[in-house]
Amino acid sequence: MTLFGHVDSSLAAYVEGTLDDATAQRVRAHLPSCERCRALETETRLGHGLAAQLAPAPMPEAAEAAVRQALASATPRGTSSPARLFWRWAAAAASLAAAGLAVVLFRAPKAEAPSPLPHRDVVLREADAAPTRFEASALELHAQHASGTLALELRSDSPDELKAWAARTAGLGVNLASQRPPEDGASFALEGGRELRVEGVRAIAVAYRIDDRPVTLITASASDVGDRPPAWGDAGKSVSFRRTPTGKLLTWTNSGQVYALVSDLPGFGQRACLLCHTQKQRRATIQALGLTP
């Protein structure tokens, strides 16, 4: 609020829906009597809708190769010559890849660093149809999760306990990793699960946090859910992406189950997938995901 009671500075948070209740109420009370702020609110809301369409852009391979080349010419102070050789090797390999002569392998002399699986392995496409009932349920649950009102039937930070509970309760599999890689640290925190019914279809929701941000995963048997993404197979792994005011939604069908994953994590929210995926190559593929035409 400003000195004269105008609400300019609060409008961005207001249109995003992130203002605290008291301030939001003051804005709502002010707008009907202030033409200036009403006009600003309209413009801000339009701007929010436009800005929400911005998306991370993947780094082109040629640009990445050029950066690696530059890094090869510089070394951290006090590093040994093997480090210099490594960066030169990496730059040379990147140059070959840019010329289409080799696959870029970010390889250390002794231990093998992960290279992403080919991007054609995972196909991320933006959804253009209205959300399905299954997707809408995932978004509703995530909104509850984000607001702290999601009731969990099982509260547990044990992946094995959650997996057993999902199998016992609904006959559904949730491929939670029993052991976290060291780089995850305490960033990943399971919270628990609950059973739900989506138009009579039995489903399981798993609530967890990554970087202290809520993530919600629901899954159901594929044979029970219509209008689902194509099942993974020899043709590739298709994942549907949708950006909504509630969060970023990823849906896919694999091994007889449909999954919907909601978060507000950066990019396409793909970091949320790392809860289940701990293998280095797969993680590299997931984190490098971009939209496929």
Partner: protein, 196 residues
């Protein structure tokens, strides 16, 4: 259903996680795998931020290169009491601003540039891609005080608190600048935003 131990999420913190701190320490010692991990983990976010700040793919690549060169040579200076993400975003923003001041001119994308829009085969996807490109160009034309927080919020997905930490301003200032940025965007492209 009887529950087990209560899942305790780690509270928000301004300090680097233990795992992140260990990775940075390894980088400072010249560990090649550690720096490779950092580069793989952050290259996309740094590039994307630089692209939306500058509006130019080549400039974004140059900023990315400069940021990681700085990281390579200064990783030992990173203070363990600061969040690495905040530090890296700040370095990226400052690198962009420094380079822009040095160039003293703004070069917009050519109308045909597809840096922000993936090729699409369906009509709906084409229109979305074109809208995204137009919006990105408009954002790149905003003054830095409005452009930077808007990109940090809508591309880098930082919270108001995180943006405030990156820019060294108050949360209130972040809110005010975001409001002005969105309002400016809405004024310039309002008709586009109203399309069905």
């Amino acid at each position: 259903m009887m529950g087990a131990s209560l899942a305790m999420a780690r509270p928000p913190s301004d300090v680097a996680t233990d795992a992140q701190a260990a990775l940075l320490e390894a980088c400072a010692r010249g560990d090649r795998e550690a720096f490779a991990s950092l580069f793989e983990a952050w290259k996309g976010r740094v590039y994307s931020l630089a692209l939306h700040l500058s509006g130019e793919p080549a400039e974004a690549a140059d900023v990315t290169q400069e940021v990681f060169l700085k990281l390579l040579t200064r990783v030992g200076q990173f203070r363990a009491d600061a969040r690495f993400s905040t530090w890296l975003h700040r370095v990226t923003v400052n690198t962009h601003l420094d380079r822009r001041r040095a160039r003293r001119r703004f070069v917009a994308l050519e109308p045909g540039d597809r840096a922000f829009a993936a090729a699409a085969s369906q009509e709906g996807a084409l229109e979305r891609a074109e809208t995204r490109r137009v919006v990105a160009l408009a954002v790149a034309r905003l003054g830095p005080k409005l452009r930077v927080p808007l990109v940090l919020r809508y591309v880098s997905d930082l919270s108001y608190d995180e943006i405030a930490a990156v820019l060294g301003v108050s949360v209130g200032t972040v809110g005010s600048r975001l409001s002005r940025a969105l309002s400016a965007l809405g004024r310039e492209l309002g008709a586009l935003g109203e399309r069905p």
